[in-house]
Amino acid sequence: MKLERLVKKAQKGNDKAYLMLFQQYEADIYRMAYVYVKNKDDALDLVQEVAYQSFKKISTLKKPEYFKTWLMKITINCALSLINKNKKVIPLNLDFEVLTGSEDEDIALTLSLHKLIDTLKEDEKSVILLKYYDDRTLKEISEILDIPLGTAKSVLYRALDKLRQNLKEVDNYA
């Protein structure tokens, strides 16, 4: 069924239609959430929270075609507020379950996910995720994150710089 129809149905309170719709994006939401919160449990909590908040607010979505963007925005906001809540207790433990079984892979590739998750600050993660995972333009990113275009640009370049530095370091070891 078409996205627009599902959104309209959901806006009338049809939870089954909304579930159908939401499930198309839950993996993306989970992965984005994971980058922020760094663990499975919190990321799952976030998926549930985004499902909850988005369905509650679905009637406020004016243009169904922006559904995904809108969902991503909610995801980022939920992730940031969870992080703020847990700020003092975020473990610096680098034990990533995502990396199990990846020994054979290119170390640079592997490390960049580490780097993305660990080195980047929240705002940098948001911009990088939206730009490269969600294929948003800088202008869209500035709108989604409610920041000036110039800020979006500088955050993006700063983040890319950090990631490149990391790749260089890896190259040096090689």
Binding site: L19, V47, Y52, F55, Y132
Partner: protein, 228 residues
């Protein structure tokens, strides 16, 4: 960078319980807003449907009994035909009709009576205990006849309900779809053998989509009529 990041992120495994968590979140939201949105929508829907199709099965008979005793004799007699006609809907319709006499011109009123007659006979012949007809089981000829009558009578029902005529509010195409939605609704109710609007859950999956679409359309028309 582009594909690289996607590739990186795809390494994050998706836990199996993710569907469950999505559902939990949505259900929680539903249960909280449930009341608000649902009751609102349901109330509207009830008005739309009562005004449109329920009134035909219950009301029409009551009306006929009152106004055309020669047809059925009395309310009791009528009840033999339609088990679920209640005294309340009978009286309600009586009141509506008194109102109609005032609102409709003499000629209009006569036409209304004629149209009701088509329904009355159709309901008796093809309707179930609740007066609902499963239109999908109807032979082509009576189906056309009833549909034509429905086309004509709906504006009268609107008038009785104090709403602007659906025929005027909607475009010809929309009106056609509206009548179709009413018939779908009645068909599903007849197939289920229920007298009031069923919950989606009890409708067989294959008809759910159709039912929801019809329902959506009835709400749409109703909203248009009340000027939203």
């Amino acid at each position: 960078m582009h594909n690289h990041l996607k590739q990186e992120l795809s390494k994050i495994e998706i836990p199996v319980e993710i569907h469950e968590r999505s559902e939990l979140g949505i259900n929680k939201a539903k249960s909280e807003m449930g009341g608000k949105l649902n009751r609102f929508v349901k109330k509207r829907l009830a008005i739309a449907v009562i005004s449109a199709c329920l009134m035909i099965p219950t009301g029409v008979f009551a009306y006929q009994a009152l106004l055309a005793d020669n047809l059925y004799g009395s309310f009791d007699n009528l009840k033999k035909h339609v088990a679920n006609v209640t005294m309340e809907s009978y009286l309600l319709f009586d009141a509506k009709l008194n109102q109609a006499k005032g609102d409709l011109g003499k000629e209009e009123f006569e036409q209304f009576k004629d149209l009701l007659n088509v329904f009355t006979s159709a309901k008796l012949e093809y309707g179930d205990n609740n007066g609902n007809i499963d239109y999908s089981q109807l032979p082509a000829e009576p189906l056309e006849k009833i549909k034509a009558a429905m086309y004509e009578i709906q504006p009268y029902f609107d008038k009785l309900n104090g709403l602007p005529s659906s025929k005027e509010v909607l475009t010809a195409e929309e009106y056609e779809q509206y009548i179709q939605a009413l018939m779908t609704y009645e068909t599903i109710m007849a197939q289920l053998g229920v007298s009031s609007i069923p919950e989606v859950d009890i409708i067989p999956t294959e008809s759910q989509e159709e039912f929801l679409e019809a329902q959506e359309y009835l709400i749409y028309v109703n909203e248009k009529q009340i000027g939203n």
